[in-house]
């Protein structure tokens, strides 16, 4: 029997056979794999056949909540989706906030493992023990809000809907998965896997509270966050300005991705930042049990441009990828582009980066108007943005090319296009430049999911003894500040420890914006929260190990699928100096030092020189032999 904090049931649904089974793992399973990627990647290794094509029915789509989800603890909404990624061919792992995870868990289940493919479009409904697979022919082709309204009419206002839009149905390689219209498992193309299974939506409505050993202690910590939110620069800044607050800061620093990363400053940055957004900002919202409330809600009611507030508002990543990176400096247009991506379930980062890559190719005469279906793909051309999002979602025109992602598009264009690519393992890089924070470069290179900006903590929070992050992670043994640009052993160690920490948060269901170093809740309070929910006599060491276990399972999956040391790399542009702005003529990453840092990481992780976890490391982490790949 599972402990407090869990429902004790993993739901397995085979869409081909229409078979529903319930697994009841024992308590030791949950302690080792408390949720998030630890559970999801465990099932990916166990259930996904080697070398399967990601859009084949044999791929398996896994959704995992976590131990803290559904409890009164603060900032605990997270849900992980995993499958073999159609964008990278590696492990897919994508996190989302929102409310669906807590509602799913209240149906009495901790995770959902979906295999096979439905003969016709379907949706799954889970109302406690009543689980049905239902026809979705009338939902197929509809946008997310249309589907949300239909399903909520049928299943009630208290239900929550996780779904794909037309981009997922059409297997856009970076289609995402949406819940509650404004929250996304954004990366790795998990929406395309859902679409390949003819699965349109999963609607949940539960009545079973997650049991807590000491509910009042968990609630007390949430009240502490609510009381102190505005006293801490991190949570106060997130609430006041949201992630868009970073745009002008990053631009002033000289590393705002601009025109496919050719420049680090955008002359119209102040027109897409948080202050510009205030003109259309109508609300601030958040996720389940989160007092931070960092989400933006924007609305535009002009005759020629309407933005529906139900789709939320753009984050920093979307403002960069759909704005400065394309040379577009109009907050209203970028907000509309964000809304369309949300309607169709398109990852804004990968779409914006694939379009910026195509624009760069166009300006270098590697593509012409005949290739682009008549579009003039010049940076700053506002007219192309919205039509190309629609075409991409529908798999029409040049959008059909963009839907493949930048790496596949580059292969078709030819080798001259390769230097213009900014991706790792096939996944387009997010809006952070590793030349000014090298720990982030290690995240991009080593993360199993391809370029990922939340595989670890960000260097600028640790640059001197008074930095916001430095004093918060002493319990990890991070006592001293680090250089933003260093690549020595202390930087590798910083990355290694905070990679474990960040995966630990994912495994437990906590949002990185709620807990240190980016959020307000300190480690001692966080561990106290886990203890109060579970009743376990646990500590930071045991919980960090769940993060390390997840990282190693992801590595095992990728090794099995043919990935190796040569895939742990960053795009060539980062070995070059900035071309202009305040950082012009400097900051190139030293190639040899970067290579040495990766090798140092392997040594710290207990991996061999080819990046393969040593048998002893896998034994130490207790990863069962039955899920380890052979050889």
């Amino acid at each position: 029997m599972a402990s407090n904090g869990f429902q004790g049931k993993i739901l397995h649904i085979d869409l081909t056979e229409k078979e529903i089974t319930v697994e009841e793992p024992d308590a030791s399973f949950y302690r080792k794999y408390p949720g998030g990627p630890s559970q999801a990647v465990y099932y990916a290794l166990k259930e996904i056949p080697k070398d399967v094509k990601p859009l084949d029915p044999s791929n398996v789509f896994i959704i995992s909540s976590a131990v803290l989800v559904g409890t009164p603890g603060p900032s605990t909404p997270r849900v992980t989706i995993s499958a073999k990624s159609p964008l990278t061919g590696a492990i897919g792992k994508s996190e989302a906030g929102g409310f669906w995870g807590a509602e799913f868990k209240s149906t009495g289940h901790d995770a959902l493992v979906i295999s096979g493919k439905a003969e016709d479009p379907c949706f799954i409904a889970i109302k406690d023990e009543k689980i049905t697979i239902n026809p979705a022919n009338e939902l197929w082709g509809k946008t997310t809000k249309e589907v949300e309204e239909i399903l909520k009419d049928e299943y009630g206002k208290s239900s929550n809907v996780l779904q794909i839009g037309p981009a997922g149905e059409n297997e856009v390689r970076y289609a995402n998965v949406c819940n509650d219209l404004a929250h996304f498992n954004g990366r790795n193309g998990m929406g395309a896997v859902m679409g390949s299974k003819n699965l349109k939506a999963i609607v949940v409505d539960g009545s079973k509270n997650t049991s807590c050993k000491d509910k009042s202690r968990a609630a007390e910590i949430t009240r502490w966050v609510a009381k102190n939110r505005d006293e801490d620069p991190r949570s106060a800044g997130l609430h006041e300005a949201g992630t868009p607050g970073g745009i002008t800061s990053v631009n002033a620093s000289g590393w705002l991705p601009t025109k496919n990363w050719q420049e680090g400053q955008f002359e119209k940055a102040d027109q897409i930042g948080s202050e510009a957004m205030e003109e259309i900002l109508v609300n601030r919202k958040g996720c389940y049990s989160c007092p931070v409330q960092c989400k933006r809600v924007v609305e535009i009611k002009n005759d020629d441009l309407e933005v529906d507030p139900d789709y939320g508002g753009p984050e920093y990543e979307s403002l960069g990828s759909l704005g400065s990176n394309l040379g577009i400096g109009d907050i209203k247009l970028v907000s509309k582009a964000n809304e369309l991506c949300n309607k169709y379930t398109i990852d804004t980062i990968s779409f914006g980066m694939t379009l910026s890559f195509a624009m760069h190719c166009y300006e270098e005469c590697l593509l012409d108007q005949e290739d682009t279906g008549g579009y003039k793909l010049e940076f700053g051309n506002e007219e192309v943005l919205l039509p190309l999002i629609r075409e991409t979602a529908r798999g029409e025109g040049f959008g059909k090319q963009l839907a493949k992602g930048s790496a596949r598009l580059a292969e078709e264009i030819g080798k001259e296009a390769q230097p213009l690519l900014r991706e790792v393992k096939g996944q387009e890089i997010p809006m952070h430049d590793p030349r000014v924070k090298t720990g982030l470069g290690l995240q991009y290179a080593i993360s199993g999911v391809g370029a990922d900006h939340w595989a670890a903590q960000h260097d600028p929070y640790f640059t001197d003894d008074e930095s916001l992050g430095t004093s918060t992670l002493h319990a990890l043994g991070i006592m001293d500040s680090i250089s933003e640009r260093g690549l020595g052993a202390e930087k590798v160690r910083f990355f290694y420890y905070t990679n474990m920490l960040t995966l630990m948060y994912d495994n437990l269901g906590a949002c990185v914006f709620g807990v240190v170093a980016r959020g307000i809740v300190p480690l001692d309070k966080f561990i106290s929260l886990v203890r109060s929910v579970t009743g376990w006599n646990t500590n930071l060491w045991e919980l960090l190990k769940t993060g390390e276990r997840a990282a190693n399972m992801m590595r095992l999956f990728n090794l099995r699928e043919g990935f190796g040391k040569e895939d742990d790399r960053i795009p060539e542009i980062f070995f070059e100096d900035f071309s202009g702005g305040p950082l012009g003529g400097e900051k190139a990453i030293n190639r040899d030092k970067f290579k040495e840092a990766i090798e140092k990481y392997y040594q710290m992780a207990g991996w061999d020189e080819k990046g393969r976890p040593l048998e002893g490391k896998l034994d130490e982490l207790g990863i069962p032999k039955r899920i380890r790949p052979e050889g």
Binding site: G245, G273, P582
Partner: protein, 78 residues
């Protein structure tokens, strides 16, 4: 002789400072950036970057009459 300095606090920093997002501050003629930050109750840990008239400045730099000071918070993850 005291002089006037224009202050612009970015990315939600004004929630911390004893100032509106944009304001004019009267400072002593030998005031440094650090003095200005102290006047508006911002500590070093809350600041990532300071620009004076568009150029990166250090905390010990002196501020002159009529200059514009932009103060940015640390940012990571988005």
């Amino acid at each position: 002789m005291p002089h006037e300095v224009e202050i612009h606090l970015h990315g939600g920093l004004h929630k911390f400072a004893s100032r509106a997002r944009r304001s004019i501050l009267v400072a002593e003629n030998d005031a440094s950036v650090m003095d200005i930050c102290g006047r508006i109750c911002l500590s070093k840990k809350e600041i990532y970057l300071i620009k004076v008239d568009g150029t990166r400045a250090k905390l010990e730099d002196e501020i002159n009459d009529g200059e514009k000071v932009d103060i940015f918070p640390v940012f990571g993850g988005g």
